[in-house]
């Protein structure tokens, strides 16, 4: 018997209808947003960009196509059809080549008709010439940064940020659920009334508050449109059960997100609108969800306690919401799709952990969310679980149980007992540190008060080692790209190798910071994030947009990629060149230049006779620690434009494959163009021969205190290890051991290689196969074949 919803459909039936409907949709490009934004921008030329942005969003929210799919209970769509990708011409345009590629590329394939292409290229895009963020930012780049930005195989590529926007932060959704946009509107109104003409930032602030008012009103209109649509549908539906549901939807959309939520259903609906509108507003991914099981719990408790709602109904609505998350897809460029792939938005939803007083925060809803996800099991939302010493064993065990029964990989696990002290050390008050949520893949951030920009750039550490050994020349193109740090064949000690490497890293880290600062300033000027600013503490108080530094904390996360490769390579040089003198430095350089041509035995020696990271061998683990530490310290030296901090991370999602293509042969025996170690701190593929505990202990030796933006360790486990309750217990004990040793993060992927290989051959039969690609999850069959192969090659941990 249901209490809130009418009887007549079970939870399983609804979820299966919704999932089938979502999965049957054919991802395509949607022009509607581009038309509406362009129309608005044409009208607002000359106005402040804060107002132009707000008006453009308002125009979209008031006029975009809206729909309610069969059996939906949570409503709100991202584009004109389900799983359509809107376009963001204000940030950058897509070339004809990119558009031609969309329907035929093997990753994130998007349909687009010839008429649509024509409209874009001939009507919409021409107006944007020299008006996009990308163009305007490019004009601000000095020659040296332009040179790096246009070089193939560059150490970093910052410019893609202009197109992809920020994303990657934790909006204070809870505030909207509890108080509604009406509270934000009232505050903006009040601030505007109090704003003195003599305020030195009068023009800016008045634009800011007026923009806020425009948005609040547009948000209200948007949800009211759904209320009206649901009402009409209810009238036209003969089925009394669906009629009643549509009336509930209409009532919820009349109430939220403008007014405070009154029950669990409205809280979920408010959550979805608030998050969805941000995704409609900007092209960024990983706008993340925060601690869902914490801020939703009071609504759940109230409704279940008062007998308004059954536990199963709560789960039914959560499942409906989880399906809804997969509606959000973005049209990435081919390169970007290859880096990330799988239409993953990485909206990270955090469960578990402790409350602000440090007590176990797990509740019934924590487990309900996991149970709901077991039944839905799509790539979104990206559910991460905080594991604290104080959390019950049932929490990690539940995660393993789901992974063991459903297969695949999800639910990254985060060690509270390492992350909270790290955040405190980084300057957060203890209570805020305890309330951290994860952004995107692995980035821990305070909730609702920081524009984290946690995934601003990848930095190729392996390329820096290449330059240190080649005096700055690229092994692939022979082009001079790095610093002149001396002819490595004359190096006589590890000190000299390390000095050269450090100089390269230091030089490029500074260039990366410079590039990002220019981009950030340009974003603040041309595409301020006014909607985000309404959801971040202190922006309203200061009358300052989050993109310009309005929020309480300002971060910019930059990730070092290839620390395990660099560490292994340094170890091999140390042992085989300088210590055992089995290879001269000039021989090594010659071998690397020729990519091990006619040097199989030397390659074998480099591969197998020097220890490798991931085996719990101190001498090599120390080198990986060094590579990570040195990068983090360099990053920490940089000044962030908004007065915040650059935060170093050591993770790479699945970018280790494309980034690896840009690196020549390495002294650890890795051939030119091969993927770098995956995840960010996982051992190189196949070298971890001492089993998972050794991998964990190697990873726990890194100086994680410094890696404030997070790390990614992937651990593939065969299904035979996760079948029984006893297995789940042992896996939990293993996790606890790793975390007790000081580990920060791990992502388990319980899967068999055979299944993956079969999925490559018969993708349609495996549409439900979700894998974690180094830090986030995606449909396996959607991935680039290189990345698929890379996943298959990762060591499968066996315990026979």
């Amino acid at each position: 018997m249901k209490k809130y919803l009418p009887d007549g459909i079970t939870r399983q039936e609804r979820t299966s209808v919704l999932n089938a409907d979502m999965r049957a949709s054919i991802p395509s490009i949607c022009l509607e947003r581009a038309r509406l934004v362009t129309k608005s921008y044409k009208k607002t030329e000359g106005e402040h960009y804060l107002l132009r942005r707000a008006k453009a969003l308002a125009n979209v929210l008031k006029n975009m196509t809206i729909f309610i799919r069969p059996e939906e209970i949570i409503v709100g769509n991202h584009a004109s059809k389900q799983r359509f990708a809107p376009l963001y011409p204000e940030t950058g345009v897509l070339s004809k080549k990119e558009l031609d590629l969309m329907p035929i590329r093997e990753v994130d394939t998007l349909q687009i008709t010839e008429e649509e292409k024509k409209e874009l290229l001939e009507e919409i895009y021409p107006w944007w010439k020299h008006k996009t963020l990308e163009d305007l930012t490019w004009d601000r780049f000095p020659a040296d940064l332009k040179e790096i930005a246009t070089s193939p195989n560059a150490v970093f590529n910052a410019l893609s940020r202009t197109r992809s926007g920020y994303g990657h932060y934790l909006p204070d959704i809870a505030k909207v659920i509890n108080n509604g946009f009406q509270a934000i509107e009232a505050k903006a109104q009040k601030k505007l009334e109090c704003l003195s003409c003599q305020d030195e930032d009068f023009t800016y602030k008045s634009a800011f508050y007026n923009a806020a008012l425009i948005i609040c009103e547009a948000v209200h209109t948007f949800s009211s449109r759904y209320a009206a649509l649901a009402g009409t549908l209810a009238e036209n539906t003969a089925d009394p059960r669906r009629k009643k549901e549509l009336k509930l939807i209409a009532a919820a959309c009349t109430q939220v997100p403008y007014h405070p939520a009154r029950n669990f259903h409205e809280a979920l609906q408010s959550y979805w609108f608030t998050l969805l509108i941000d995704y409609i507003f900007q092209n960024g991914s990983a706008i993340s969800c925060g601690r869902f099981d914490q801020y939703m719990y009071p609504y759940y408790l109230k409704d279940t306690d008062s007998g308004l709602l059954t536990k199963d109904e709560a789960q039914e609505m959560i499942e409906a919401l989880w399906v809804k998350h997969n509606d959000v897809i973005k049209a990435c460029t081919y390169n970007s799709a290859r880096n990330n792939g799988g239409f993953s938005t990485s909206a990270h939803l955090t469960l578990g952990g402790v409350d602000k007083d440090g007590h176990d925060a797990c509740n019934e809803l924590t487990f309900l969310c996991l149970e709901a996800d077991r039944n839905v099991f799509n790539c979104e939302p990206n559910i991460g679980v905080r594991i604290n010493k104080k959390n019950p064993e049932e929490l990690p065990q539940k995660v393993f149980e789901i992974l063991g029964t459903v297969g695949g990989g999800k639910y990254p696990l985060f060690n509270d007992d390492v992350i909270i002290p790290t955040l405190v050390k980084d300057g957060l008050p203890l209570e805020e540190a305890r309330n951290y949520g994860i952004v995107g893949c692995v980035e821990p951030n305070p909730y609702g008060n920081s524009l984290s920009i946690s995934n601003a750039c990848y930095f190729n550490l392996a390329k820096c080692l290449e330059f240190a050994l080649t005096n700055g020349y690229c092994l692939l193109t022979n082009k001079k790209m790095g610093l002149s740090t001396g002819d490595a064949s004359s190096f006589t000690s590890m000190t000299e190798v390390k000095e050269a490497y450090e100089k390269q890293v230091s030089y490029f880290v500074e260039k990366m910071a410079d590039s990002l600062n220019i981009i950030e300033e340009s974003i603040a000027d041309y595409t301020p994030h006014i909607y985000c600013s309404l959801l971040l503490d202190d922006c309203m108080e200061r009358g300052l947009d989050s993109s310009a530094g309005g929020s309480r904390y300002n971060y910019c996360g930059v990730q070092g990629v290839g620390a395990p490769d660099v560490g292994d390579a340094l170890m091999a040089i140390d042992k085989l060149v300088f210590h055992e003198k089995r290879l001269s430095m000039s021989d090594l350089l010659h071998i690397l230049h020729s990519d091990f041509k006619d040097a199989v035995s030397e390659q074998n020696m480099l591969l197998y006779e020097a220890p490798k990271y991931g085996n719990d061998i101190d001498e090599v683990d120390r080198y990986v620690r060094y590579a990570g530490e040195q990068y983090c310290l360099e990053v920490a030296k940089q000044k962030e434009w908004r007065g915040g901090k650059f935060r170093p991370g050591l993770y790479c999602v699945s970018a280790n494959t494309p980034i690896g293509r840009q690196v020549g042969a390495m002294a650890n025996g890795r051939k030119s163009g091969m993927p770098l170690a995956d995840g960010g701190i996982s051992p190189r593929q196949g070298v971890d021969e001492n089993g998972p505990t050794a991998v964990f202990l190697s990873a726990a030796k890194l100086n994680l205190d410094l890696v404030t933006n997070g790390v990614d360790l992937n651990m593939k486990i065969l299904p035979s290890l996760a079948k029984t309750q006893e297995d789940y217990q042992k896996l939990t004990q293993m996790l606890r051991g790793y975390f007790a040793a000081g580990g920060m993060h791990v992502q388990f992927n319980i899967i068999s290689d055979d299944i993956l290989k079969e999925a490559q051959k018969f993708p349609d039969a495996h549409r439900n196969l979700v894998v974690r690609v180094a830090g986030y999850s995606a449909f396996f069959v959607d991935l680039d074949v290189d990345i698929q192969n890379e996943i298959i090659s990762r060591t499968a941990m066996q315990a026979l």
């Binding site: 199989v600 074998n604 719990d616 089993g691 505990t693 042992k730 004990q733 051991g737 007790a740």
Partner: protein, 295 residues
């Protein structure tokens, strides 16, 4: 002589364990899944599936012990000096040498590394093999040292040794698993090459001192899996008295090891038990009054 030290073992005693596989065993079980642990000497293993037949190893061998024969690289063990040059030369890592002489301290230095995991799981070190009590001095040294480091200890033994050897290690063992292949001596001799008289005596003595010791029976197709076998085994068990056993199901995962050692495996084409077979066998044990646990 040690064959292998394997971390993260979760089926050899409580918690997460590191298992030390001793090399050398007095039994020659025809179905053995770890043939590389039978002999006490180091041995060359050539994994043919990985071999690219490039013959690099043949040129690398100073003793001319390797040759290509019928599409497979073969080693003449009378010539091989175990110099490892072929191991290093092979581009496909198809060759390895099993068997290393390590002292107790060296072994414990590896075992100790997983202490964080022993602490969270109640795990520790397991001595297995091969037969750990076939090298009684090393086994004892390891156990004494483990206790010094406060590491939980476990043994998996066939008890094919004099009881005085068993008695010496007992005080240092937290957990004991012994296995019995068959209670029928004729069958035991046929399957393992040795009589079970000493083993059965040892079981009796052991259980008097350590009633917590647990019996495991490897269930082998055609050897001890018929109703008749099970009835006979169960009757004998009740005499001890033993009321529960763990069954370890035959698997043929050892198959590639035999071919790597250039040995014949009589069980190559024998399939593992189906779930239905397993249930039947378990039911049979239960029907004869023996409780089957963890199987």
């Amino acid at each position: 002589m040690i064959s292998n030290i394997q971390r993260f073992c979760i089926h050899d005693g409580s918690g997460i364990r590191t298992t030390v596989f001793f090399k050398g065993c007095p039994l020659r079980c025809a179905w053995c899944a770890n043939p590389e642990t039978q002999h006490t000497c180091a041995e060359l293993m050539i994994y043919h599936a990985r071999c690219g037949q490039c013959q690099t190893c043949i040129s690398a061998c100073p003793a001319h012990a390797l040759s290509l024969n019928g599409g497979n690289i073969q080693v003449d063990t009378s010539q091989c000096t175990l110099c490892k040059l072929c191991v290093k030369a092979c581009p496909n890592r198809a060759i390895s040498i099993k068997g290393e002489v390590l002292c107790a301290q060296e072994i414990l230095d590896i075992v100790r590394r997983d202490k964080p995991f022993y602490q969270t799981s109640g795990g520790g070190m397991t001595l297995s093999g091969g037969e750990p009590l076939y090298q009684p001095e090393l086994a004892l040294e390891l156990l004494v040292l483990a206790k010094k480091y406060n590491i939980h200890t476990c043994i998996e033994t066939s008890l094919a040794c004099s009881f005085s050897v068993v008695e010496k290690v007992l005080p240092f063992l937290d957990e004991i698993y012994f296995d019995l292949k068959h209670t029928n001596n004729t069958k035991h001799k046929a399957g393992t090459g040795i009589s079970n008289t000493q083993i059965l005596d040892n079981i009796e003595h052991l259980l008097k001192q350590r009633p917590d010791a647990r019996m495991r029976i490897p269930v082998i197709p055609g050897f001890n899996d018929t109703e008749k076998d099970i009835l006979e085994i169960c009757r004998a068990l009740k005499e001890f008295p033993i009321s529960s056993v763990e069954l370890m199901w035959f698997h043929n995962l050892g198959n590639p090891k035999y071919s790597a050692l250039a040995r014949e495996y009589p069980y190559t084409h024998i399939s593992p038990f189906s779930d239905i077979d397993k249930k039947k066998i378990k039911d049979n044990y239960q029907a004869n009054g023996i409780v089957v646990i963890h199987s």
